[in-house]
C-alpha cells in the first residue's frame, strides 16, 4: 500500500486513467490477486481438515487437557505425577523448554563472546583455535552434536556402582551428574535475601560512583566493588548465621543414588549441545560486530590517550552492539526453537511431551497448535525485548 500514495500523487498530476501501466492500478490489482489466493488456500485447508475429521469422527476442542495423562516424565521443575492432567504435563514441558532456553542463551552468549573476541586476538594460537571451534561447530548438524554429547555421557561414563568421584560428594556416572546440596536451614533463605540486598547495593554504588566521578573526576573500581558486595553480603550472612555446613550428600543405595541434586544426561546433552552449537554462530556475530566498527574509531580514541580497555568499553563496544544485537536476536530464537531437538535424546521438552499427548489422544491439530502457539509466544517475547534494547542503543542520524 506504500506505493499507492506516490502513485496517487502522480495520477492526480497527469489525470486519471485506468491502465495496467499505472503503478497505482498495478498495486491494487496485485494485492487483490494475492489476498484472494491466500483466502482461497486457507478455506481449502480448513474445509479439507474439518471434512476429514468428520469422516473419521474425531472430536475437536481442548477438552482433553483436563483428562488424566497417565504417563511419567523424567524430570520436572514442578510436582508431577502420571495421575495429573495432560494440561499439567504440557506445562511441565513448557517449563523444561524454558529452562534449557534461558540457561542455554546465557551460556551460549558467554562462550560466543569469548570465542568471537579470541578470533580477533593477535595471539596466533588463540585465534586459530577459536577459528577451528567455529568451523567445526557450525558445519556439523546440531542433531548429530546432541547425539555425540549424549553418547559421551551415557557411553563413556561409568555405571552407578563405579561412579567417577572427582570431588567429595560429586559423582559422574551414566545417570548424570550428582552434586551435594546444602541441607535446608533458615540461613540459606537469608542468604538469598542478602544476595538481593548485595545486588541492590551494587546498583546504588554504581550510581554513587558515577556521580562522584562527575564531581571530582576520580574513577572508582565499580566492577571489583560490585563483585565484593554481591558475593560478600551472602558470605557475611552465612558467617553470622553460624556458618551451617550440613550437606545433603548423594550416596549410592542399591542401584541408584539417593540425596543431592541431579543434572540428568539428557539435560546436560541438550544444554551443552545447543549452547556450544549456538555459541559458534554468536562468536561470528560478535566478531563481525567488532570488525564493523571503523578502525579509525580505535585510532581516534587511542590518539586521545585512552587506554585499550577504555577504548573497547567506551568507544568500540557501544557501536559494535548496534551491529550485534539484531543477528544475536536471531541466534537466541534459533536456540529456543532448536531445543525441540531434545525429542531425539529423550529430554522431556515441550515437543516431546506434546508428541506423547498427541499419540495417546489423537488430538494432533490441537497439540501442534499448542506447540506453535508456545514457540510463537516465547519467540515474540525474545524479539520484543531485543527490539526494545536495539532501539535504546540505536545511533541518532540526521
Amino acid at each position: 500500500m506504500t506505493s499507492e500514495s506516490g502513485g496517487a500523487g502522480r495520477g492526480a498530476h497527469s489525470g486519471f486513467t485506468l491502465s495496467i501501466n499505472d503503478p497505482t492500478v498495478r498495486a491494487v490489482v496485485f494485492q487483490v490477486l494475492i489476498i484472494g489466493a491466500v483466502v482461497l488456500l486457507g478455506w481449502w485447508l480448513v474445509h479439507n481438515t474439518l471434512d476429514n475429521l468428520a469422516r473419521r469422527s474425531i472430536a475437536t476442542g481442548f477438552g482433553f487437557l483436563e483428562r488424566e495423562a497417565s504417563f511419567g516424565i523424567g524430570e520436572s521443575m514442578i510436582d508431577y505425577h502420571p495421575r495429573d492432567s495432560y494440561g499439567r504435563a504440557f506445562l511441565v514441558g513448557v517449563l523444561n523448554t524454558l529452562k534449557v532456553s534461558v540457561i542455554g542463551i546465557i551460556v551460549a552468549t558467554v562462550i560466543g563472546t569469548l570465542v568471537g573476541i579470541a578470533r580477533l586476538s593477535s595471539n596466533w594460537l588463540l585465534a586459530k583455535l577459536a577459528s577451528l571451534y567455529v568451523e567445526v561447530v557450525r558445519n556439523v548438524p546440531p542433531l548429530l552434536q546432541l547425539f555425540v554429547w549424549y553418547a559421551v555421557i551415557t557411553e563413556s561414563m561409568p555405571s552407578v556402582r563405579e561412579a567417577f568421584n572427582p570431588l567429595p560428594g560429586v559423582f559422574l556416572s551414566q545417570r548424570g551428574i550428582k552434586i551435594p546440596v546444602p541441607e535446608s536451614d533458615p540461613v540459606w533463605n537469608w542468604m538469598i535475601v542478602a544476595l538481593l540486598v548485595g545486588v541492590a547495593a551494587a546498583i546504588a554504588m554504581t550510581r554513587w560512583a558515577r556521580a562522584r566521578q562527575a564531581r571530582t573526576g576520580q574513577p572508582f573500581p565499580v566492577g571489583l566493588a560490585s563483585l565484593g558486595l554481591i558475593f560478600g553480603m551472602p558470605l557475611l550472612t552465612w558467617l553470622v548465621g553460624g556458618a551451617p555446613t550440613a550437606m545433603d550428600v548423594p550416596r549410592v543405595q542399591g542401584f541408584n543414588f539417593v540425596g543431592g541434586a541431579t543434572m540428568s544426561p539428557e539435560f546436560f546433552a541438550i544444554l551443552f549441545g545447543l549452547s556450544i552449537y549456538t555459541a559458534g554462530f554468536i562468536a561470528e556475530v560478535v566478531r563481525s560486530g567488532i570488525v564493523a566498527v571503523n578502525w579509525g574509531q580505535t585510532e581516534a580514541a587511542r590518539s586521545l590517550g585512552l587506554s585499550s580497555g577504555n577504548t573497547l568499553r567506551l568507544v568500540v563496544l557501544p557501536q559494535a552492539l548496534r551491529v550485534i544485537v539484531p543477528p544475536l536476536t536471531s541466534q537466541y530464537l534459533n536456540l529456543t526453537k532448536n531445543s525441540s531437538l531434545a525429542l531425539a535424546i529423550g529430554y522431556p521438552d515441550l515437543v516431546s511431551i506434546a508428541n506423547t499427548t498427541i499419540n495417546q489422544t489423537g488430538q494432533s491439530i490441537e497439540g501442534v497448535a499448542m506447540i506453535m502457539g508456545t514457540y510463537l509466544t516465547i519467540s515474540l517475547g525474545i524479539s520484543l525485548f531485543m527490539n526494545w534494547y536495539n532501539k535504546r542503543i540505536a545511533l541518532v542520524e540526521r
Partner: protein, 259 residues
C-alpha cells in the same frame, strides 16, 4: 652513511626541539615506506608536509603518536622516546592531538560528549570542568550551538571543526593534522582552514600534512617535501615555492600549481 645522517640530525637538533626523529626507517612488509627520516621540530613551529600520494607523509606523522611503529631509528616526543613501552605511548598521546582526514568522531556520543570523553577518562577531570573547557573550545571553532547534536547531524566541515576542538580539550602541546581538508566539499575547506590559522596564531606546535598550498604559504614556518619515503627538501615557504632546489620538487609543484 650512518655517521653522516646522525651528524645531520645533530645539526638540526636545537635545544628546544619538541619532536626529534633520528634515522627513522619503516617497512610495510617488503615496502620501504620511510627511509632514513631525520627531522627536528622546535616548540611553536608550524610545519607543512607535502608530497605525492604514497610518499609516506601520513605514515611519518602517524609514527609521531605511534599509530604506526617504526622499525629503526629514534623518535623522541616531548622528551619521551617512543618504544614498545605502552605507558610511554599513552603519555605521549595525551600531549599530542591528532586530526584525521575522515574526522573519526564518535557517532554514538554527542558533540559535547566527544569533547569531554578523554578529559574525563584520561585527565580525570570533573564532568563540569571538562564540559566548561569543551564549551570554550567549541566556541573557539564556532560550533558551540551544536553541542548537544550527534556527529551524524553535522556537515563535514562542522564535524572536522568538532574534531579539532576534541583534540584541543586535552590541552595538547603538539597538534598533528593528517590531510584535514581532503575529505571536505570545497566550500567547507575554508571554515576548517580558518580554525587552523587561528590555532597557529596561538603559538601551537603544528605538523600538517596537506595539499592546501595557500595555507602553507600563509602559516607555515617550514615546508617539508617528501617523495618515495624520503625527505627530499625542506625550506621556508618563500624559498620552497619560488626557488625549489630539487628537480622532483619542481615537478611536484608544477603539477599541483598548474591550475
Amino acid at each position: 652513511m650512518a655517521t653522516t645522517t646522525s651528524a645531520a640530525a645533530q645539526r638540526q637538533t636545537g635545544t628546544d626541539a619538541i619532536i626529534q626523529c633520528v634515522g627513522v626507517h619503516k617497512w610495510y612488509g617488503e615496502f620501504h615506506v620511510l627511509k632514513d627520516i631525520n627531522l627536528s621540530v622546535r616548540k611553536g613551529e608550524r610545519i607543512v608536509v607535502c608530497g605525492p600520494s604514497g610518499s609516506g607523509k601520513s605514515t611519518l606523522i602517524r609514527c609521531i603518536n605511534r599509530l604506526e611503529e617504526h622499525q629503526r631509528g629514534q623518535i623522541i616526543v616531548d622528551g619521551i622516546e617512543l618504544t614498545n613501552n605502552l605507558k610511554n605511548i599513552e603519555l605521549v598521546r595525551r600531549e599530542v592531538g591528532m586530526v584525521f582526514q575522515h574526522f573519526n568522531l564518535f557517532p554514538h556520543l554527542t558533540v559535547l560528549e566527544n569533547c569531554t570523553l578523554a578529559p574525563i577518562w584520561v585527565r580525570r577531570q570533573p564532568k563540569a570542568e571538562a564540559e566548561a573547557t569543551a564549551m570554550k573550545y567549541l566556541e573557539r571553532v564556532q560550533i558551540a550551538s551544536q553541542a548537544n547534536k550527534f556527529p551524524g547531524q553535522l556537515s563535514g566541515g562542522q564535524q572536522q571543526r568538532v574534531a579539532i576542538a576534541r583534540s584541543l580539550c586535552m590541552s595538547p602541546k603538539i597538534m598533528l593534522f593528517d590531510e584535514p581538508t581532503s575529505a571536505l566539499d570545497p566550500e567547507m575547506v575554508k571554515e576548517v582552514l580558518d580554525v587552523m590559522i587561528g590555532l597557529a596564531e596561538t603559538g601551537m606546535t603544528m605538523l600538517c600534512v596537506t595539499h592546501e598550498m595557500g595555507f602553507a604559504k600563509s602559516v607555515a614556518d617550514r615546508v617539508i617535501f617528501m617523495d618515495r619515503g624520503e625527505i627530499v627538501e625542506q625550506n621556508t615557504p618563500d624559498e620552497f615555492f619560488t626557488n625549489p632546489r630539487s628537480e622532483r620538487t619542481r615537478l611536484f609543484l608544477s603539477q599541483i600549481l598548474s591550475h
